[in-house]
């Protein structure tokens, strides 16, 4: 599948933003975060900006962006529509929660309840984003049980790294978040490795023989494509990535998205003040780069069944 940069940015940025909102909505009402209104402002603004920037970016992917509002109508059948509805719905309790926390310094009671609601909505939104891809049967690398957990864990990892960085401006030596950030990075790494193992060892049930209903005489292979040139289907779904690039990019993703953030989180866990702050900041930068590469690969490695009609033997 063609890795459109607007979609790569959308899924990574809003994934991180909604996951951060999930953590804030859950932890602030329980009194696990600094109660300062300024902290609430910085943390919630970061979550809102990331989530909203991702959503705006996804609109640029559309052929007719001015009609984007129509995408809220088909929530009964479409995961894309559900994702749109849930992402907007999340902002309602999140806004009340934010106003209460930032302007009135309140994170308990009704405001806290709105925090919990925002957390639930944010988690559902991330699951919907994952389901957009996981529901597509023609793409074996997406239509599997690892995709939604991957989206959730990778978002959560980004959220925890961001939260730990921000907390360090208010708390000299935070206790809980660095450890949880480290554990989430490791869990996200494990889930990504499980996904890669799955796509490397499983192939789709569809083959060129099932795509053409041929094969009773022997192996089926393409003789001539319909055109001498590419067409829309090949531009959009015929993206190919060289095996050696794939291996190299996976390695870069492993290092930048997981290994470096894990090591830097460990440093941040063991240190306080300036060094801890720098380590946490570097962890965020490294993870951001790594997640973009990981998401680019998620698209580039995905093979659509339509390529079976254009020379692919299996997908």
């Amino acid at each position: 599948m063609h890795p459109a940069l607007s979609i790569v940015f959308f899924t990574t940025a809003s994934g991180a933003g909604f996951a951060l909102l999930f953590l804030l909505g859950l932890a602030a009402p329980l009194g696990l975060l600094p109660q300062s209104g300024w902290f609430g402002f910085v943390a919630l603004a970061t979550a809102f900006i990331l989530a909203a920037a991702g959503l705006v970016s996804s609109v640029f992917h559309l052929g007719r962006p001015e009609r984007a509002w129509r995408a809220f109508s088909q929530w009964r059948s479409s995961w894309l529509s559900r994702e749109g509805v849930m992402s907007v719905l999340t902002f309602v309790p999140a806004a009340i929660f934010g106003i209460g926390w930032v302007f009135f310094g309140e994170t308990g009671g009704l405001i806290g309840l709105c925090g919990f609601l925002a957390a639930i909505c944010a988690a559902v939104t991330i699951a919907c984003t994952g389901m957009i891809y996981a529901s597509l049967k023609p793409i074996h690398q997406w239509h599997n049980r690892w995709v939604v957990p991957n989206y959730f864990m990778l978002g959560l990892m980004a959220g925890f790294l961001l939260l730990d960085l921000m907390i360090r401006f208010w708390v000299v030596r935070p206790v809980g978040t660095p450890l949880l950030a480290l554990l989430t990075v490791l869990a996200a790494w494990w889930s990504k490795e499980a996904y890669w193992r799955f796509v490397d060892t499983n192939s789709a049930p569809s083959t060129v023989a099932s795509a053409t209903a041929l094969g009773s005489r022997g192996p089926v292979r393409m003789l001539e494509p319909p055109h001498t040139q590419d067409n829309y289907l090949l531009q959009e779904m015929g993206f190919r990535i060289a095996r050696k690039h794939k291996t190299r990019l996976r390695l870069i993703a492993r290092i930048t998205a997981f290994l470096l953030p894990a090591l830097l989180s460990l440093v941040a866990l063991l240190t306080a003040g300036g060094i801890g702050l720098i380590a946490a900041a570097l962890a965020v930068i490294s993870a951001a780069l790594g997640l973009v590469i990981e998401r680019w690969l998620f698209f580039a490695e995905a093979k659509h069944t339509v390529t079976l009609y254009y020379g692919a033997v299996a997908v």
């Binding site: 809220f72 529509s81 209903a213 041929l214």
Partner: protein, 254 residues
């Protein structure tokens, strides 16, 4: 709503049957499709860089060519492919706007272009590559089963079939109601063992493909005689006993 229409027994399900035994890969159906539809229901079907390198455009029907088998048993199969108007059309259910829909009355899958936002998700959801993006208008387009021909009262009754079917010079394409088990197309499918494409995905396509017939078994006495045998025959003809005929033979062989 982009839910699929409720099903009931005996529901009309219009579609195509394609005989892979007869198709010669002439591309006439693709050309006729483009010609009709660029002025039809989903018009226009734009082309880009039409006269240079990197030419591409919107086509609702394409002809692929495959080879099946190896050695003497192999054959070339020309394989036209357009929208299969699936019963479980995921291109319809994934649509976030309601632009993509399946008609309850005849099962045709269409796009309402004025609702389409061009998110392209339907083209990702279609395993067969039936969706075509119009980059000029920023909306998705697709085969309409020539809805503007099959119900067109301005056309003579015999012309009320999809352009691809009426143009086919080898009569490899058939149009009819595949929801009715007694229709001519359904009987053809039953007789020839018509097949679904990628049945494992569960889209339940309406269009069916008739597999190429098996070649007749090889019979020795029908086979052409090898050249060496003919030469030997000519040689023995030369060994004529009659001197007169031998003289004539020499004369003629000169």
């Amino acid at each position: 709503m982009t839910d699929l229409p409720a099903r009931y027994p005996g529901q009309t399900q219009l579609g195509l049957v394609i005989d892979l035994d007869l198709c010669v890969g002439c591309h006439a159906c693709a050309t006729a499709c483009k010609e009709w539809n660029t002025g039809g229901h989903m018009a226009p079907l734009p082309d880009f860089n039409a006269y240079g390198d990197g030419a591409w455009g919107v086509w609702f029907n394409r002809i692929h060519s495959f080879e099946e088998g190896e050695g003497d048993g192999a054959r070339t199969v020309h394989f036209p492919k357009s929208c299969l108007h699936c019963e479980d059309a995921a291109c319809v259910t994934v649509c976030p706007t309601g632009a993509s829909y399946k008609r309850a009355e005849d099962g045709i899958v269409l796009v309402n272009e004025s609702l389409c936002i061009g998110c392209k998700l339907c083209s990702w959801a279609c395993p067969y590559g039936a969706r075509e993006f119009d980059a000029d208008e920023g909306v998705m387009k697709k085969c309409t089963l020539c809805i503007d021909r099959i119900y067109n009262a301005n056309l003579a009754p015999e012309e009320r079939q999809p352009a691809c079917v009426s143009v086919c010079p080898t009569k490899a394409r058939f149009f009819g109601d595949l929801g009715d088990p007694n229709s001519a197309v359904s009987e053809l499918v039953a007789a020839r063992g018509g097949k679904d494409l990628m049945p494992e995905l569960g889209y339940r396509p309406t269009n069916k493909y008739l597999p190429p017939r098996r070649a007749r078994p090889y019979v020795d006495d029908l086979a052409p005689q090898p050249l060496t045998a003919l030469l030997a025959e000519a040689q023995s003809a030369a060994d004529v006993a009659n001197p007169l005929l031998r003289w004539v033979d020499r004369l003629l062989s000169r």
